[in-house]
Structure formats: C-alpha cells, structure tokens
C-alpha cells in the first residue's frame, strides 16, 4: 500500500524535473503522451478491450497553440501534488476551483470551464501513468446499489440490503472496499435511475437474489471499477439494461470494452464479460412495444452509424442485426415503455423471463 501511495508523488516529481532540465538546457519544454482520440484507440481482439495505440502527442510551451494547455497541465499537476502532500482528496470540481484564477496583470484565467481542468486531469493520468484516484482526485458520487452484499469501507461495515429506499451511493474510489460476504448471483446494471427505483421498490434484487446498480447517464469510473471487481473477484455475470438507442448501446460498450477517452484505463475498468439484456429490437416485437416507438432524429441516425462503425461492433453479426433493425424501424425505445404493460411488468415478467431464457447480446 505504501509503495502505491509514493508512486504518484514520484511520477509527478520526475515529470517536473524532466521539464526543468529541458529549460536549463534551453530546450523548448515538451510534454509527450499518448494521443487520446478515436484515431489512436485500438480494439484488442484478444482481451476484447480498447487500448491506446502508438500515436503520441507533444505539448510544448513556446507554441501559441499549446502554451495555455501546457500551463493548465502543469497547474493541475501542481494541484495534485499539493493534495498528495497533505493526503487529502479533491473532487473534479474542487480541482477546477483550485486552478481557476486570473493571471496577475492580465485578463487571462488559467481555466475558464471545468472541462478544461477535467481534460488536464485525464492528460495527467497518461503522463504519470497514475489514475485520477491515485492522484487524489475523485469524481462526484453518482449512482446507487442494492443487493445481498456486505462490505467494509473506511472502517464501517455496510449491508447493501439494508439501506432504505436510496440504496448505497457508490464512491468514486472503490479500491479500498473489502467485500465481506457476497450472496447475490448476478448483477443488473441499468442506465436509468428511475428504473432502479422501480426494481428496488419491487424488492426485485431480493426475489431474484441479484445486485441492482445504476449510474445516471454515463457510467462513472467508481461504478465501473466496482462492477469489474465483483465480476472478477466473485464471477458475477453482469447484465446491462439500457434504452434501445445509440446512447444506450454506448453505455453497454463502455462497460464492456472501455471508453474512448479513457482507453488507457481499460485494464482497470473494462468488463469483457458484460452482456446486453435489453431493450433489444426483438423485445420491441416480442413484447409488442412498437406503438411506443420514438422516431429517430438526424442526431440519432448519425450516432447509430458511428457506433455501427466502431471496430468492436463491426464484425459482430448479432449487433449489426440490431443496428439494422433500428434503422429499419426508424425508431428507438425507452426502458420505461415496458410500464405500459403494467407498473411491475418489468420486475414480474420482463426481467425474470429474459434472464431465465438467457436472451443476451454479447
């Protein structure tokens, strides 16, 4: 553990020293790290996860286009180092405010928007080869979990089965959580908080002996890492319940293969075992949901096309069939469309039936 704590500090120091040496030599200080765009994301067919390719990007100080980002990167490194020095954690928002100030005698802010500091943090992960959490920077908690699991976190024992209507909210750093007892047999991860609340109210996890997890929108790293650990350490299958649209597919894609912007972290985040439970194009027919179709807009169509073109979907016949059916329908579906069959239809009929039949997309 101690070694792990020292690594980020050492990396940051080395990073700084390299630049100082360049400056002493009169060389334009240069930061070099892997390029984080789709063009440099490679799908590894063996591990079935996304990784970064060989392409590097250079960020130099004496370059008009680079100077500001160069400064921002160093600013964030400084903030991270000061957090590590006092052994405190800051949120992404905290870090943004720690960096946000105006340079004296100018009207230039070091950062104007949080997205700038967030980007700098992701760059710093690549530069130092340390994750955000290792750099003492945490994301906001966003997401809930419930199920028959007993854990220990920061000295407290927590029972996921006994946390009332809200469930346990998942922290951004789950490395130090110890699982004491895991009785559940599988995990359902859902895109929508509202659906999670439905299942929780119906005590679905108790009846089916499973774990229900949700994030809001895109899955946070804390949740992804938690799911990965449960999958690896307890071999729990993971089923994804998302809307039948481009964004729903991408949520599944991120969980299973890793995300494009965090391709360098796939090893710690991707869950190649994850399966897509629904909503599928076949569900629309089998459960007679066609009357709840929502017409595809231009933006839906272009997202669908992008996803269908991703390397990791390109050769998957089953998925290509889904994409084609969506295109033919010219429509998408929300999970909540199931409520038209009755408020508890999803927990009483749809999910048990699907899981029993093993109707998953891989």
């Amino acid at each position: 553990m101690k070694n792990q704590d020292k690594k980020p500090v050492k990396e940051l120091e080395e990073f700084g020293k390299k630049l100082v040496i360049e400056i002493e030599k009169g060389i334009n200080p240069t930061i070099e790290f892997s390029l984080r765009t789709l063009s440099n994301v490679i799908y590894d067919t063996k591990t079935k996860t996304l990784g970064l390719g060989e392409k590097q990007q250079k960020r130099t100080f004496f370059n008009v286009g680079h100077a500001k980002k160069f400064m921002q990167t160093l600013e964030i490194a400084k903030v991270s180092k000061s957090l590590l020095d006092v052994q405190k954690h800051g949120s992404l928002r905290d870090v943004f405010y720690m960096a946000k100030r105006t340079i004296p005698n100018s009207n230039i802010n070091i950062v104007d928007e949080q997205v700038e500091s967030d980007n700098a943090i992701e760059d710093l992960e690549l530069i130092t080869n340390c994750s955000r959490e290792q750099l003492n920077i945490n994301a906001n908690k966003m997401g809930s979990v419930a199920g028959s699991v007993l854990i220990e976190d920061a000295g407290d024992t927590i029972n996921w089965a006994k946390l009332g209507s809200g469930g346990w909210s998942i922290p951004s750093n789950v490395e130090k959580i110890d699982f004491k007892s895991v009785k559940a047999k599988y995990i359902i991860y859902m895109e929508k908080q509202a659906v999670w609340e439905r299942l929780h109210e119906d005590k679905f996890w108790e009846k089916q002996n499973c774990i229900i997890v949700t994030s809001q929108g895109q899955t946070t790293r804390g949740i992804r890492r938690l799911l990965q650990r449960l999958n690896e350490e307890y071999k729990l299958p993971i089923y994804v319940l998302a809307d039948f649209d481009g964004w729903g597919f991408y949520i599944y894609s991120v969980l299973k293969f890793g995300s494009i912007s965090l391709a360098h972290m796939s090893e710690e985040l991707a869950i190649p075992d994850a399966k897509f439970l629904g909503i599928t194009a076949d569900d629309a027919i089998d459960y007679d949901l066609k009357k709840h179709f929502i017409k595809l807009k231009d933006v839906d169509n272009s997202r669908l096309k992008q996803i269908a073109d991703y390397d990791w979907f390109k050769k998957n016949k089953e998925w290509q069939r889904q994409f084609k059916m969506m295109k033919d329908f010219g429509a998408k579906l929300e999970i909540q469309a199931l409520s038209s069959k009755g408020i508890t239809f999803i927990s009483d009929k749809y999910l048990p039936e699907k899981i029993k039949k093993g109707e998953f997309l891989d």
């Binding site: 120091e13 200080p29 990007q57 008009v64 286009g65 100077a67």
Partner: protein, 553 residues
Amino acid sequence: MPNQEIKTEMKEIPIAYELAKRQKDISVAEFFTKNRHLLGFDNKRKALLMAVKEAVDNSLDACEEARVLPEINVEIIQMAEFKYKVIVEDNGPGIVKKQIPNIFAKLLYGSKFHTMKQSRGQQGIGISAAVLYAQLTTGRTAKITSRVSKKEPAFYYELNIDTQNNKPVIAKEETVEWAKENGTKVEIDLEAEYAKGVQSVDEYLKQTAVINPHVTIIYTNPKSEQVIYARATDKLPDEPKEIKPHPYGIELGMLMDKLRWTEARTLQSFLASEFSRVGSGTAKEICEHAAILPNTKPADVSRDMAEKLLQGIQLTKIISPPTDCLSPIGKELFEKGLRKEIRAEFYCVISRPPAVYRGNPFIIEAAVAFGGEIPKEDKANILRFANRVPLLYQEGGCAMTKAIMETNWKPYGLQQSSDSIPVGPVVIVVHMSSVWVPFTSESKEAIAHYVEIIKEIKLALQECGRLLGTYVRKKYRISEQIERANMFEKYIPEIAESLSILSNEKKEKIMQGLQKMLVKPEIKKEIIEEDSDDKLYKMDFKKENEESRQKTS
C-alpha cells in the same frame, strides 16, 4: 379647339406668325441668371465656395502657364449676416488691360474651350459666373486689379455684366499704385454663408494644397483665423501641351463634323492631320480596314461611310495618345502633398499609364493613406480631384465614387458591405488628369460614368489596395507577435511556480531559464506539428523582425 379654328379663319393668318414675334435670342447671361444652380450657385454656402474656387482655379492656371510658383492669398470678410467679401490675390502674370473686362464680365469667354489641353478651367464660365452671381445678390461691382510687369502700371476696374447682351459694363477704370510687380487681385461681394466642414471653403483650400504641393496658399477666414498652406516642393508641374484628338473613342457625330469642316483634300491626309498618333501609313491602314479609298474627298464621306470609318479605326492598331499633353502630379509629389496635410502612418500612390476615353487621353492617379490620426470606425474619407481641382459636391454621382464602391476592399484589410464605401482608418484619393474631363454638369462636381474611366480608376485602386493589404497584414502580424510574446511572458511565472513545486527547484532559476528562451530567436522558430485538437500557428519571429527592420530603415 373649334373656337381657335374660327379665330384663325377670321384673321386668315396662321397663329405661328403671331407666336414668332415673341421668339428671339436668349442671352447666355440671362439664361444663367435663371439657372444659377447649373453653375453651382444653388445656395449661400455653396456660392461662397464657388466664388473662391473659380478665382483660385483661374489664378493657379495663370501662374502655371506663366511658369511661376503660385502664391495665392485668399481672404473672406463678413460684412452682414449673409453678405461676404471674397478677395483672391495671386502672383501670376497679370492680364492685359484690354482683356480684363471680357475675362471677368463676359460669360463663355476664354482661351481654353477650343483647345485639347489639360487645365483647371475649361469653358470660360467660372469667374464671370461668380461676378454675375455677386451682381444679382448684392448689386455690387466686381473689383479687379491686375498688373503685367513693373514697367506698366496696375489697372483697376469695377465691372458689371449686361445680362441682356452678355457684355461687360465698366463702372470705373483707373490706374492705381500697387506694390506687386505682376499679379491679379479679384474682389467680389456676394450673398453667402460661411461654415466649416465637409463642403467648406476651408476643406477646398486644404485639398487644393494636397493636390498642388507646389502651391502656397495664405487663407484668412471670416473669423480672422489665418492658415498657411506652405508649398512642399519648388518644382512646377510639367507644362501641359495641346493635342489633337486620338482616333479611338471618337464618336460618329464628331467625326462627321470634322469631315465637313476640314481643309484636307483626301481622307488619308484628313486622318493624318486631324488626329494624334496617325501618320499617313496608319491613315492608309484605317482606310483599308474601312474599305474606303484613301483619296476620297472628306466632304464626300457619307454617314454610312463614316460609320465604316469608325469601324476601320477600331480595327487598326494605333499607339496610345501622347502623354506630354497631360500633367499628372507624379507619385513623389502626390505623396508629399498627402503627407503634409493628412497625418497617417502609411501612404501609397499609384500612377496609371495614360488611357483614352472618347478620343481624350487621361491619366488616373490614386492614393491611399492609412492609420495614424484618421478615424478608425468611420467610412473611408474620399478625396476626388480633376485636373488638380478638388471635387467637393455630388460624391454619390461621381465615377470615382462608383469605382471605389465597386472595388472589393476586404482583401486589403478594410471592412465593406457589398458595393459601398469601405470602412476603416483610410483616406482614398483619386485624381484624373485629362485634356477634357467629362463632368456631369457645368458646376464641375462629378465625373461622368465612362466605362474606360471607371476601369482605370479601379485598376489604380486595386494596385493601391494590394500595397495597403500587405501593410495591414504585416501590421496585424507584428501586433500579433507582440501579443504572443506578451502571452508567453505572462505564463512564465505560472509555469515556474508549478514546476518549482513539482521538482523542488527554485522558482527564480526556472523563470530565468524560460525568459532567456523568450528572447532567443531559435526557440521562436516553431515547427508546425500534427496535432489532433490544437490549432497550431507558425511562429517566425526572426524573419518578421528582419522584415520590420527593413521597413523602417
């Protein structure tokens, strides 16, 4: 109608005879009395300007013809609310006694109307029109003093115009003592109004000084403020020469007139003697192209043949008209004139080669002054000149304005909505020199829209524009360079602070290292790199600095 018929029948004399009794000559003077706006005297403010302008134009023409460096004294005195006295005095050759009454008190009397030669005055109307206007509005005589040499006395006249017969009326005639050895002094009392501003006497004299850098003007305005526009050069403009019309552009009617009145016996000799740049060889070629025998009698040339002749002229290659008949200002002097009256940071002057419209040679000169004290957000200030005379009125109707609006100024660093005057810190100057400037009216305020003239103006403006664009871009680049250097300078302490915390090295040391690199030229030469999300700019301080050094040296 039937009534009238009865009348006619009764008298048995057609009514036209009755009407004919009332039909008679209208005197030119009388005509202009009723149409004073045609000469530019349409309101009190403009009348003052016109009186000054006509007197000054005459003085300048006279001085230049006599090869004397002009020194003009202009004084305006307010006598009543709308009564002013205008005094213009020059150091010109003076006017011989006999001619003084005709020149100042007879309309359409002059030496310039019948010649093809560049001069300010053309028709011989100007100054006598001012005298006429003065007479109509104040009833006072024009007072003229003139002396041709120290051997002769100075003559003093008080003159009126007999508007019925367009003849001078001499109210007083005497010899006077005058300190000047030669020169002319004109004194006119007229109804007028004085104001400063765009179309004022002040502006007219200032622009006159710009376009005539060899002239000194001493001007005292009605508020007794004196301005001296000192000459910037002792070099007089080249003396313009008289020429014959050039065949290109001559019109059918004019050609037929010339054919009728010529003394030449054959068509070939007619062409060779009446036109410039046509020798007997070219004349023969024209006849061949027109399929008319060269020995045809000019008087026998019919309308159809004249038309063929015109086509023949167009088919024949004839060299451009001689340019020594024109006296452009020249790049160097034009720039001197601009520099002394307009405070800008960049000047460029373009002189076009001579061109021809309707058989008349002309030269377009254009200039652009940029930056400095010129207002930044306003429409471009346009200065129009014809034969060294400022044109202050009817900007909208002038070929020069049209050419400026039709030129695309955006590539040259100015703002412009389509087909309008550009916006920016710029003064655009156009000067047309010609043996005959085609004004749209007798008040000589705007140039007619001849295609050939507009084309030449545009070409001149485009040349100016390219130079301006180069300058504006360079200026923008340099200011961008400075901004960039400033940006790096501001970032350096922040970078040093962060690096100091990361590496535990001293902040000052890192700062010094970075600052050293900022002035080192090598580091400023950046190479364009491929990058996914950063827009890269090429930086090349070293080269830029060299360029700007060359510019200043």
